[in-house]
């Protein structure tokens, strides 16, 4: 249970970081 919860939290964090970094870097590259 602990490992699965850790995995879920880590992946939610990764998705959040990915969206923010994706938007920021897209506008940085195409800006």
């Amino acid at each position: 249970m602990g490992l699965k919860a850790w995995s879920a939290v880590l992946q939610l964090f990764a998705i959040g970081c990915g969206i923010v970094l994706g938007i920021v870097t897209y506008h940085w590259i195409t800006g």
């Binding site: 699965k4 992946q11 990915g18 970094l21 994706g22 800006g31």
Partner: protein, 227 residues
């Protein structure tokens, strides 16, 4: 937890975080790059010896290429090297890609940049992408085992983790032998007819050699046949 276990957990966690972050960045890039191309009519060109009527927005070509190949690599890192427990979102990467791009087709098909009314071709693409991207989502809803494996997977055997920490099967040992397989039955005893025939042949030879009298041979033979 042993030092090796902590190290493997850290490696797996890093692969999960970097892989999934990379996948999400790639999907975000693809979504935004497609929107910028749809906003100028749905097609553009860059480079080459020809006169280009609609040049691509600055940097979009590079973002598309990096998004495609970077997304594939990041998906591979996430799927092959990431944590084995908890969400296993690889099938949903497909859904995220096609549903997000399908949304762009739907949005642009209903509200095209030239305000000329709905564009049938883009709406057909939107439907096609919705079907392709929606298939794993439908699977999540109707197949409980697939949903459990995708959203809340159990930890898998240690030998599948980096470095094969568990003992590998020895030579000749099948890797997936069922645990409750019954032992092979012992070979059946030879049929008694062979013993009887051998005994009768021996008796006959002894009788022929004169070591048994006629009466003794007849009595022994009768005893053998009665047994």
């Amino acid at each position: 937890m042993s030092a090796l276990g902590v190290r493997a957990l850290l490696q797996r966690s890093a692969a999960t975080f970097l892989g999934l972050t990379g996948v999400t960045i790639a999907l975000t890039w693809m979504f935004l790059a497609m929107r910028s191309v749809m906003a100028i009519g749905g097609s553009c060109a860059e480079g080459g010896p020809y006169e280009i009527s609609t040049p691509c927005p600055h940097g979009v070509s590079m973002v598309m290429l990096l998004g495609i190949f970077g997304g594939l690599i990041a998906t591979g890192v996430y799927a092959a090297l990431g944590l084995r427990a908890g969400p296993q979102l690889t099938p949903l990467v497909w859904s995220a890609l096609f549903l997000s791009l399908g949304w762009n087709f739907l949005d642009s098909g209903l509200h095209p940049p030239d305000d000329a009314g709905p564009v049938a071709g883009w709406l057909i693409c939107a439907g096609l992408f919705a079907v392709m991207g929606g298939a794993p989502v439908v699977g999540l809803l109707v197949v409980p085992s697939f949903a459990r494996q995708t959203l809340w997977s159990e930890d898998r055997p240690a030998r599948r983790i980096i470095g094969r920490t568990a003992a590998a099967p020895t030579a000749g040992e099948p890797e997936n032998r069922p645990a409750s397989r019954p032992p092979a039955p012992p070979p059946p005893p030879p049929p008694p007819a062979d013993d009887l025939a051998t005994a009768l042949r021996t008796m006959s030879e002894l009788h022929d050699q004169g070591k048994l009298t006629d009466d003794e041979y007849a009595a022994a033979k009768r005893r053998l046949l009665e047994d």
